[in-house]
């Protein structure tokens, strides 16, 4: 296997690492497994992918793409702290509001220190709002059903990857694909747990913040530093996690058939706003 192949770096390696670690987490913590260990598997898989794709950046990082690695480290650390603290709701909500702001300020520090224009400040506020809304929505989804949240993160990752690829910002497309791959591994275990055990697997804050927080930062990078990226498409990505609200209202029973079909239908429903996003990115590039 050619380890310098971007497909290996962005998809195969993070999927394999997450699959093994999340699988191991099922052996720990009894029936419910260890959400914390699973989260570390997702975060570790994502960081491994970034290290393979671009190398571990110097610290302090110099450019915005280099900061992505450390912002995902921060996101994972925030999630880990929340998981260890038992996920106190108030603190988790504060983290959801704070993390997108931290990402924006650090990514755009040069321009902020140089005296930003009003248009940039408005853009930053909108990006912060969008990031906070997405994290809030995914947290709510994860609280009800970890698999649903995983599916929504995967769908969002596909959307981000497509918008990035069309920009083009291929490095970000691959990083986003890595999020999809890592969460895909978790989703497979969650799906198996749901079908065989009948109970949904829990997704901890570590997995959620590393994966979804990573996607939020990636969209920030895309909008702020990729002139040709489609801003309408990037804005529409906010809709993807809300497709779960539609899926949750599907009239499916709680039997085996319902448990098998439910996630598949959720994925299909989430695909609709993703396809719309891709269409927007193709038709409305920001040239």
């Amino acid at each position: 296997m050619d380890t310098s192949n971007p497909i290996f770096q962005a998809i195969i390696a993070p999927f394999a690492v997450a699959f093994v670690v999340v699988g191991a987490s099922r052996l720990i913590g009894g029936r419910s497994g260890s959400a914390l260990l699973a989260g570390l598997g997702v975060a570790g898989a994502l960081l491994l992918a970034l290290a393979l794709l671009r190398g571990v950046p110097p610290f302090p990082p110099n450019s915005s793409p280099e900061k992505l690695f450390y912002l995902i480290v921060l996101a994972g650390a925030l999630g880990l702290a929340l998981d260890l603290a038992g996920r106190p709701q108030a603190l988790e909500r504060l983290a959801i509001l704070a993390f997108p702001a931290i990402g924006l300020v650090w990514l755009d520090l040069r321009q902020l220190l140089a005296g930003p224009e009003r248009a940039l400040l408005i853009e930053l506020v909108l990006l912060w709002l969008g990031g906070a809304v997405v994290l809030w929505r995914l947290r709510d989804a994860a609280a009800r059903n970890g698999l649903t949240a995983a599916i929504l993160v995967i769908a969002t990752a596909i959307g981000v990857a497509a918008v990035a690829a069309l920009a083009p910002f291929m490095g970000l497309a691959l990083a986003s694909a890595a999020v999809g791959a890592a969460m895909g591994a978790l989703a497979i275990w969650a799906y198996g747990t749901l079908i065989l055990g009948g109970t949904p697997m829990t997704i901890g804050a570590t997995a959620l913040f590393a994966a979804a927080g990573g996607l939020v930062v990636m969209v920030q990078l895309l909008v702020l530093f990729t002139p040709a990226a489609s801003k309408p498409a990037a804005a529409f990505l906010v809709i993807v996690p809300f497709s779960g609200l539609v899926a949750e209202r599907l009239p499916l029973d709680s039997g085996v058939i319902g448990r098998i079909l439910g996630p598949i239908l959720q994925g299909a429903i989430a695909a609709v706003p993703v396809l719309a996003t891709i269409g927007l990115a193709y038709l409305l590039p920001d040239d």
């Binding site: 190398g55 950046p57 110099n62 450019s63 915005s64 793409p65 083009p168 910002f169 490095g171 002139p227």
Partner: protein, 194 residues
Amino acid sequence: MRLAKLSVLTALATALLLSPDAQAADKYRLDPVHTFVVFKVADLGYAHVVGWFTDVAGELTFDPADVSKSELSVTIKTASIDTHYEPRNKDLMSPDFLNVAEFPEMTFTSTASEKTGDKTGTVTGDLTLLGVTKPVTLEVTFNQIAPNPFNSDTPTAGFTAHTVIKRSDFGMTAYLPAIGDEVDITIDAQAPRM
């Protein structure tokens, strides 16, 4: 008589100083229309991608008699990259490569110059690319300084320079090693005296 001789000598000296081959350090400004910064980088082992930057500005202080006093400063707008294929240009302007939104310029400021031959020398300086500053040495060939008949006979200096840099030294690590790390740069410049 002595005064006459002195006058002639003074006149000769003045003529020399004012002539295109003046030995003093003169200031020159790079002619953007006649300055070419061309690069090539290995592409998947098949061949090289070749491109150039179309927005280059700079000033040169040059004394042919004492090259060590020479100074060069150049600013290149990174968004002016052109590889003859617009999708690739956009890719190169993205944060994967030149990250033009964050770093709209790259600069070179000389720190030392040395003569190595009759018409050759080296210019060492600081190249700042993607916010990272590294020393780079240019191998320079001095072509000539002569009146430019297309520019009102303004004395114009002409140089060719060459260097090789590693893009990873500046944090540009995307797609290594498929896209080469070494970037071969050739510069041809004309600079009318200011």
